[in-house]
């Protein structure tokens, strides 16, 4: 394990003292306007948090200090009374999941940002609200500057202490001091500025703040250093490692991950390939660390060199699964379709897991869940949700339905109503708070054009208004269910819709034969038109439904075919479905076929997945695929995987997250074969389902998959 990771994992954890530090700031000026109160809170957290410098670090700043102070419970209780009432926006109210305009931070530096705020303060001198907002931004920026100086001083004070490297301490200290007052000129200085900014978000309590296109905004500094002979490639990789290792602090102190999305490769504003040396270094650093915190994504364009995709596959094959592969063209096109400028769309990043984001130009992300499969319940049971007790529209008794078209017509009515219901939920959440009292001055600084307009990010400061995303659940459950109805009821006429309804109501108890017929019907992911056409329809329909909606700020509403693990919770709200799925069981995961139902090989799976028009899906989508480790370790086989992905992306696939089937998986499959019906073993002229093999042979295969 990396030394810095070891050092992080050995830090004491006395509990988080953020609330107490926040109260100190709040009590500095009790009569300040709300936005200034918030800025004071931000300042006290940043400047009173004890600086800690790791012995193995190369870039200053971490949040170990936040967990290093003994906490007086009475003091915390008092502080909490105030800080709780001050409140923050929550995820649904556009609080975090944001990519800052780091390119600008590096271009103008701290002094440039301060000047800009000053100019705006003068411009809006008569406007009290804007003045308050801008003053708050200035306080935050000065606090950030102070943070750099505190660390600079701390580093110097550690010189001579055993375990520390004096040269490195001096270098880090000098760089932090320089960038507090001047624009950065070197790679180290640039990385220091960006990391301190991300750290400030973390100290403030924000989560899933993306680091964005690090290979792009840092590249000029790397080139300058290279030209001046100031940096080697190994040093650049080591610097990235130092920064990414600290993302692991979340894991250590909070027991969950800071889903800090890092986006590499893709295209520049002219649409040309943007891959550079740093793209490779970042993959290398993430691979070397082998931790889940830095959520690495690669934008793969038709112009991206094979060598980058190959480096990505090598990293994935270590068992890490990173980077996730995003189809650049499909995602850019999806954003352009939503009305964003072409150059802004080409500069998109991801926040959180996969959510597409207009870098530094929109308020933080928010999204909800759209549990489409409950609409099947509503159609069968005349507007009643058998598991979620919610109501749809009374579209009539299902015995009246004579054709597939009629079923689809009623389904669409239910889908539209559910969309309205989800939008209302979101609207009510936003309406609950008065934006002027929930401003985010620090975040606004690096969102175009908050400073220039003197406005908070959620009050018209951002170039683009807030968007809302819907995680669309169960594409395969929907497609499989509709295909099963068409096949069993309308083509083969082996059951009536009423019989099917009764079977669903009984959760198939007493209807085993009918359930088997439904299970045997064609399933999504096998390149079968009878079912794939419903996936195509479904994507087009949900995109159409939500395209008409707007957020309270007037922004667009995006669909995502992604579920994280929400397909499990979503499934609990859905009764038995015509694909043969039992009530309460998970619905299909993200944009993938129903687990275990795609059994004609990867090409057939991808052939199905390429059919829906994913340029209608502006959030993004997720496909999980697994391959045996030999597919990654053998260069010849890796080329085949590469061609598979290229073909999938050429054909309009939006995203794929690949994992190497680990030894743990194979062992688990030996013990729980029912969980792995489709795990395939392939050798020349031979292939078999792993779970059909006897134990001795399974062990043979296990021996072939020794991970390096």
């Amino acid at each position: 394990m990396h030394n810095l990771l070891k050092e992080i994992e050995s830090q004491p954890n006395l509990g988080c003292c953020r609330t107490i530090l926040a109260y100190h700031g709040l009590s500095e000026n009790l009569t300040a306007p709300n936005v200034v109160l918030r800025a004071n809170v931000f300042r006290s957290i940043l400047t009173e948090c004890p600086p800690v410098v790791y012995q193995n670090d190369l870039i200053l700043g971490n949040f170990a200090g936040l967990y290093s102070l003994p906490i007086d419970e009475r003091e915390e209780k008092l502080a909490n009374t105030f800080i709780d009432l001050l409140g923050t926006r929550d995820f649904f109210q556009h609080s975090d999941h944001f990519t800052a305009d780091y390119e600008k931070l590096l271009r103008v530096g701290v002094p440039g940002l301060l000047e800009e705020i000053q100019a705006s303060l003068e411009k809006y001198a008569g406007d009290q609200e804007k003045t308050n907002t801008l003053r708050a931004m200035e306080i935050c920026l000065r606090a950030y500057k102070e943070l750099l100086l505190i660390y600079s001083e701390k580093a110097i004070s550690l010189c001579g202490i055993p375990g520390y490297n004096n040269d490195i301490l001096r270098k880090m200290s000098a760089d932090a001091q320089t960038v507090a007052f001047e624009k950065p000129t070197t790679f180290r200085q640039a990385l220091q500025l960006v990391w301190a900014w991300h750290l400030s978000f973390c100290l403030e309590g924000k989560f899933a703040m993306a680091l964005g296109r690090m290979d792009q905004y840092l590249y000029p500094f790397y080139l300058a250093d290279k030209a001046a002979g100031r940096i080697t490639d190994e040093e650049a990789v080591a610097l990235f490692e130092a920064v990414f290792a600290k993302i692991h602090e979340w894991h250590h102190f909070l027991k969950y991950e800071d889903v800090a999305n890092i986006c590499i490769a893709g295209v520049d504003e002219n649409g040309e390939d943007a891959t550079n040396e740093l793209s490779y270094f970042i993959i290398e650093a993430v691979k070397n660390l082998n931790i889940p915190g830095p959520n690495l994504s690669a934008r793969i364009s038709a112009k991206t060199p094979d060598s980058l995709l190959d480096a990505a596959l090598v990293s994935i094959g270590t068992g890490l699964g990173y980077p996730a592969l995003m189809n650049n063209e499909v995602n850019v096109e999806a954003l352009i379709k939503k009305g964003y400028e072409v150059k802004d769309s080409r500069n998109f990043t991801m926040v959180g897991c996969v959510e597409n984001f207009l870098t530094g130009q929109q308020p933080p992300w928010a999204d909800g869940r759209y549990n489409a499969p409950v609409c099947l319940d509503y159609v069968f049971f005349n507007g009643y949700g058998t598991q979620n007790f919610r109501h749809g529209i009374k579209t009539g008794d299902c015995s009246e339905i004579q054709t597939m078209d009629e079923f689809i017509r009623r389904l669409e009515i239910q889908l539209r109503r559910l969309a309205d219901e989800e939008m209302l939920l979101y609207q009510l959440r936003c309406d609950k708070i008065n934006p002027i009292n929930y401003q985010q001055p620090f975040l606004s600084i690096l969102c175009q054009d908050c400073i220039g307009r003197g406005l908070d990010v959620n009050m018209g400061g951002a170039k683009y208004p807030a968007t809302y995303g819907l995680g669309i659940m169960g594409i395969a459950t929907m497609a499989d269910s509709l295909a099963a109805i068409e096949q069993v009821v309308f083509i083969d006429k082996k059951a009536t819709l009423t019989e099917l309804r009764d079977a669903l109501a009984a959760d198939f108890v007493g209807y085993a034969d009918l359930q088997q017929l439904l299970l045997d019907a064609p399933k999504y992911g096998n390149n079968r038109e009878i079912v794939d056409k419903y996936a195509v329809w479904f994507v087009r329909k949900v995109a159409e439904i939500f395209d008409e909606k707007r957020t309270p700020q007037g922004g667009r509403v995006f669909c995502g075919i992604a579920s994280n693990i929400n397909n499990i919770y979503a499934g609990k709200e859905v009764g038995a479905t015509p694909d043969g799925r039992k009530a309460g069981a998970p619905v299909s995961d993200a944009a993938s076929p129903m687990y275990g139902k795609d059994c004609r090989g990867s090409t057939a799976t991808f052939n199905s997945l390429m059919k829906p028009d994913y340029t209608d899906i502006a959030v993004g989508s997720v496909i999980n695929q697994k391959y045996s480790p030999v597919m990654f370790s053998d260069p010849e086989k890796r080329r085949k995987l590469l061609a598979l992905i290229r073909t999938y992306f050429e054909g309009g696939g939006q995203e794929v997250q690949i994992n190497a089937t680990s030894r743990e998986t194979l062992i688990d499959a030996m013990n729980h074969p029912e969980k792995y019906p489709n795990l395939i073993v392939r050798v020349s002229g031979f292939s078999a389902y792993y779970v059909t093999l006897n134990r001795m042979v399974q062990e043979d295969i296990l021996n072939r998959t020794q991970q390096r």
Binding site: N607, A643, E650, E674, F686, A688, D700
Partner: protein
């Protein structure tokens, strides 16, 4: 022949030739090699494989009658993947050339779409069967399972002279041939034997050789068919077990280990 009997069509095969391939497994074989790992492809009759998975039995039907059009449509599904990866279609089995009339018609149709075709054969068929498919075949994968008739008969029930005669004719006609040698414990898994095999192949004039490490992955299929598998207790070989044998082959041929 309007129809053929096959056991399966497998997509995204990555070990049956260059690039991404779809492999058609024909049912029916005339050699019955004792180590066969596709035992369900030996009989040309439909069969049921009964697997025991945990406490459950899973029954898999093996053997379906297909038309040229059906197979063609399925092979065309992955055309874009073949093109992007330099792949194509592999006809394997069983012995695909036992159904050569069907195969020739199918391959003619496949070639109309410009798709790369490999025929994976053990070679013990009348040369007329080869002649039918040669016009549409880009590469033959041609198994050489022994260095002489005597050894060949010990492990198979075929005619080695016929195999060699066919191979000589293919080489004489300048057809692209890749020799595939399954490396089997207690049979040809020795430097001496590999040398003998290489000598034979040099004399015939082949250029490319691939070694296939023994595997016993098929043993579950024997059990599922209720058959005895003689190689059940031999361990699956690793690529690294064949390093020395590869060195011998590499002296004379463009050689590699596949599998």
């Amino acid at each position: 022949m309007k129809t053929a009997i096959i056991s399966d069509i497998q997509h995204f095969c990555v070990s049956d030739g260059d690039g991404i391939r779809t492999t058609v497994f024909f049912k029916g074989c005339n050699l019955r090699c004792k180590w066969c790992h596709n035992v369900e492809c030996i009989s040309e009759m439909p069969q049921k494989l009964r697997y025991v998975i945990g406490a459950k039995e899973k029954i898999v039907d093996c053997g379906k009658t297909v038309t040229v059009e059906e197979v063609l449509q399925e092979l065309l599904e992955d055309k874009r993947f073949y093109e992007n990866s330099g792949g194509g279609v592999t006809f394997s089995g069983g012995e695909p050339l036992l159904q050569s009339e069907f195969l020739a018609v199918l391959m003619q149709r496949v070639k109309e779409h410009g798709i790369h075709c490999i025929v994976d054969t053990a070679g013990d068929v009348p040369f007329a069967a080869f002649a039918r498919v040669i016009p549409y075949t880009d590469t033959f994968f041609f198994d050489i399972k022994a260095a002489n008739s005597e050894d060949f008969l010990k492990y198979t029930c075929g005619n080695f002279e016929n195999v060699l005669s066919n191979l000589r004719k293919l080489v004489a006609q300048n057809v692209d041939v890749v020799i595939r040698i399954p490396v089997i414990p207690n049979h040809n898994y020795s430097k001496e034997y590999m040398q003998k095999t290489c000598d034979l192949l040099r004399e015939i004039g082949v250029k490319r050789v691939q070694l296939l490490p023994f595997n016993r992955l098929g043993s579950a299929k024997y059990e599922a068919l209720g058959k005895l598998y003689l190689y059940k207790n031999f361990e699956t070989m690793q690529k690294s077990d064949l390093t020395e044998l590869l060195e011998i082959c590499a002296q004379y041929f463009d050689a590699k280990i596949d599998g």
